[in-house]
Symmetry: D2
Subunit: 346 residues, 4 copies
Amino acid sequence: MLNVGIVGASGYTGVELARILAGHPEVRLTAATSRQYAGKPLAEVFPNLRKRVDIVCENLSVDELIERADFFFCAVPHKTAMNIVPHLLDAGKKVVDLSADYRIHDAAVYEAWYQPHSSPQLLGEAAYGLPELYRETIRPARLTANPGCYPTSVILALTPLLRNGLIDPASLIIDSKSGTSGAGRAATVGSLFCEVTDGFRAYKVGGTHRHIPEIEQELSVAAGHPVTISFTPHLLPISRGILSTIYGSLTEAGEQTDLQALYERTYGDEPFIRVLPAGSFPATQHVRGSNCCDIGLQQDPRTKRIIVMCAIDNIVKGASGQAVQNMNLMNGFAETTGLMGAPFFP
Amino acid sequence: MLNVGIVGASGYTGVELARILAGHPEVRLTAATSRQYAGKPLAEVFPNLRKRVDIVCENLSVDELIERADFFFCAVPHKTAMNIVPHLLDAGKKVVDLSADYRIHDAAVYEAWYQPHSSPQLLGEAAYGLPELYRETIRPARLTANPGCYPTSVILALTPLLRNGLIDPASLIIDSKSGTSGAGRAATVGSLFCEVTDGFRAYKVGGTHRHIPEIEQELSVAAGHPVTISFTPHLLPISRGILSTIYGSLTEAGEQTDLQALYERTYGDEPFIRVLPAGSFPATQHVRGSNCCDIGLQQDPRTKRIIVMCAIDNIVKGASGQAVQNMNLMNGFAETTGLMGAPFFP
Amino acid sequence: MLNVGIVGASGYTGVELARILAGHPEVRLTAATSRQYAGKPLAEVFPNLRKRVDIVCENLSVDELIERADFFFCAVPHKTAMNIVPHLLDAGKKVVDLSADYRIHDAAVYEAWYQPHSSPQLLGEAAYGLPELYRETIRPARLTANPGCYPTSVILALTPLLRNGLIDPASLIIDSKSGTSGAGRAATVGSLFCEVTDGFRAYKVGGTHRHIPEIEQELSVAAGHPVTISFTPHLLPISRGILSTIYGSLTEAGEQTDLQALYERTYGDEPFIRVLPAGSFPATQHVRGSNCCDIGLQQDPRTKRIIVMCAIDNIVKGASGQAVQNMNLMNGFAETTGLMGAPFFP
Amino acid sequence: MLNVGIVGASGYTGVELARILAGHPEVRLTAATSRQYAGKPLAEVFPNLRKRVDIVCENLSVDELIERADFFFCAVPHKTAMNIVPHLLDAGKKVVDLSADYRIHDAAVYEAWYQPHSSPQLLGEAAYGLPELYRETIRPARLTANPGCYPTSVILALTPLLRNGLIDPASLIIDSKSGTSGAGRAATVGSLFCEVTDGFRAYKVGGTHRHIPEIEQELSVAAGHPVTISFTPHLLPISRGILSTIYGSLTEAGEQTDLQALYERTYGDEPFIRVLPAGSFPATQHVRGSNCCDIGLQQDPRTKRIIVMCAIDNIVKGASGQAVQNMNLMNGFAETTGLMGAPFFP
């Protein structure tokens, strides 16, 4: 049994980690930190966990944390994470960090989009935690940077095309829509039920969302040269789910390739990626509550563009589920352990 | 491995059965019938099941069914069920029937609320599938009648009070609210998104809902004499979930009893029933996707009434999850097998 | 043209007042106060008002307010209201107060449920602003206490029965459900989209909601003697709408009366009350965005109880619309001015 | 008073026409046809209309229709419309047709996307009913083709850029999202509450939606040469509202233009178009229930693209409200009559 701690347990990724770990046969949750709820059982903060999760929230120092567990999920905001993670590593622990702090390899890029980095030396070491692409670098890693939710949906959708030079990277337009859980559990007017329900809107329009450098980093790897994208996030009146609709112009090679077959070949053996049959398109309600990632594609013969769509549950494959998938790899467990539950519908 | 068949797989209880069974280590789904979708993989009808459920829908005769599995979930409408179940039993199979056909012990009562019964001889034999109350009669049963969703929420909530004479049965008023999945997957104007969303209404007002005789039957058992109730169902703009708010006048004994302690004692060891601490009340979003049943209670000193509230997921504890719980009992599996997943929130 | 001011314009009742007044031909909005948004156009706080409402939010003293308008809607919380209203009246202004501060006639009752009252001398003077019952006392009033949202739905539903002795007041059980706008625009975790959507729960269970004394005051007037009720509010995952489901035992007289005819006779000429035909029941989605109040009733022959249901839009008939109806009466305008818009559906 | 008839009153555009006309001071609704609900008051089919709309649904022949009114809204599906409209015109009536039948000027294009046209001679005559662009041709028209919902949102958003050569038409990518009322009131599984709620998906992907030729026709007019677009519609879990997010590459002229000022200048005097200030973006919840069209724009300096967003209520500005706006123009009423209600929020 691996003793596991969640640093920052009282957000939506925290409760989802606790829920998934409660059904994981190889681990035991032995620490859950929350400044706000210290002393309260986590199942009192999130009553869905009653009779399933026993842990009590604590406000623990890093030294106390180190005593409590051997593996950590760091689910605190960026900037906070970078002040905790190095200490955990120094104490010989392994970490999956769910913040943005170790996702960007280039410190200058990180600092241009976020703020100064206090442990840039780890940027080169951290594995980028997208198992379908980086399984072999994640396995031996002591630090894995769990990808952002939007990046997960975009990178998995585009990699087969970019790697094979089938799409013009300069033409990429990514129109993404996310459920409101992506905004976290902070009490703000903009996230109130009455402001979100029965509505829809874009935000961070015009190339300003902080997931852009992360997406571009990975698409550039796939393309073999720097890629710049248009990316517009939108807020859906649903709790969970991201759908990214991605447009690009096919290259000549792209037009001559059976793209449906390419995707099926690329992802056919992946337990969590489901390439939909031609003519079917992903829906967030069909991945809800699961670690699945559904991809569908369609060419538009009138414009010679391809549209690739990708749906994930932003708190599972886009956060806590993928984090557990990375934990499994880093500890030699079967990669799918605790994660094979089918999405629930309706 | 037990070979299991689902008769009527293309409704919402069918897809939920398939989802739960996909994670059940002791069974194999070997038949799924659907007239409408015969020849189609079930995962094409319900894309959430892709890469998790392989079965293809078929239009099978009872004779063909018998060849296919040893245990059956009958998830077809009442009246249809009674024409299939006896044949399965005759062939030596065990059955959990999710329809109303075998829930009412008294054929005359059944026929007054439904229609003539073609196999009334089985009414006395069928176990009423509420494991928390009838565990020992379910274990050896070859036929278990899976309770209705509303009845599950009401009977579990009221039994501790009625059994102990703490509440006046004549005073019972039950105001229940259900998610729209309870209406099934039939294409009707009343179930359209635009008719239901952002709205709320009652239906079957005035003592006409067919779950009434089932509720009264079981409350009468608990009370030891016939009970008549007021019951009003409402339609919530959510997919899953029932909340029943139940009002009753305490007897003198009731006023002198620590009711919170009574509930905690009664249900403390039950894996699926969670008695909330005093001052906390159930919410459908905290049982979503799980087999949990959350109960909270509060006395109103101004009126000497007690209010008992009960929340379940109507397709899990109110249907498919409870059906699997019954299957577990009837086959000697651990009762909780495949059902211990925590509710997901948000 | 009447110059009108809104004190506390930045909540949901404030924006709704501004919306309704924008279509009212007899008034001009000349003041809108908001401490938080002082200096901002109200249409920037609530973009739905763009090109329809010009007013800029200001942080005005009472003396400044007096200069600005002749009629005021006071839409600030209770306790704050009682410190503003007397000054407006002293300056010769007329006021509709949307808080609870002047709804309760008996200062001792008010203080038992709220806190000490600083202007109890006005309690006897304030008209209770339910026009269908108190039209003639509202017309000449300089201060009208706008009813609570739940009380509006309950009092209009029960008055015909209580006035005529057709129901046993001691038997009254009121199960109410409200949309989330009733919780206001304060940024709290409990009102976040992810906490409310796809869910349902009760709150203030056991006779503790502050609308109880208001409801009991008015039901006691109708019954001619003190009435004590059971009242349980619930939170619906919708923005707007209240449905109250009310249960009571009929008296002998009640059983012998044609209750449907009684309601149709009582409310037939009311422009905003719609008694539904027998067998039809109200739905919040059919009153949305309007000042309508839909009432339906059904006897339950099995229990000799009657169920009365009432649906309103909690921010219109339950707050801002009713406030404008009262303003119309207090200023000699036609009572329906600005309020006859049909509910929108879907 | 103008006598007005609605042909096809029992769909969502029909009930919305009846709602708007009930508040229109210059018209009287004298006919409402519905085969399915003949003999039923429209307010029984749509209870929101009770006490506001008196008309009874009838199954009327064209000859009977002609006797009933002088102006008609034709709200039946395409193909059905073309068999009714010519007869109404022949009888000297004026018509706003809400179907697609007279929107496309070129019969060959119509027939390629729909089916054979039985009255192609009217295609040249029908005004395209987008008042902000075609006010002067609508005024004298006897037949106006009411635009599609998606086209309304796209054409108004792009015309200022295309007319002035500021954007490369070949680069246009239109990602649109619509509420479910756009699918109409037909009882289909795909429109059920449980299939739509808490979900999101694309449909008609790859250049196959029938609004494409209509959009291209009008964008080509604005550009002065043929335009081909990428267009992907999505289904939102809301009743009302469309948001179109539109991407295009700026021309050199476009990069040197103050685009925000251009939009404000172009639409500043329009009563229904609201150009949002720089940095603000439209939201469907801010146009709900109104005839407003909100437009926001943002340049992306990293990609030299512009993103234009447009929000409308698909049943108002996208259908019934715009139809009334056209009726006003065709009959010499003030263009805004009956349509100036502010959107309601929340």
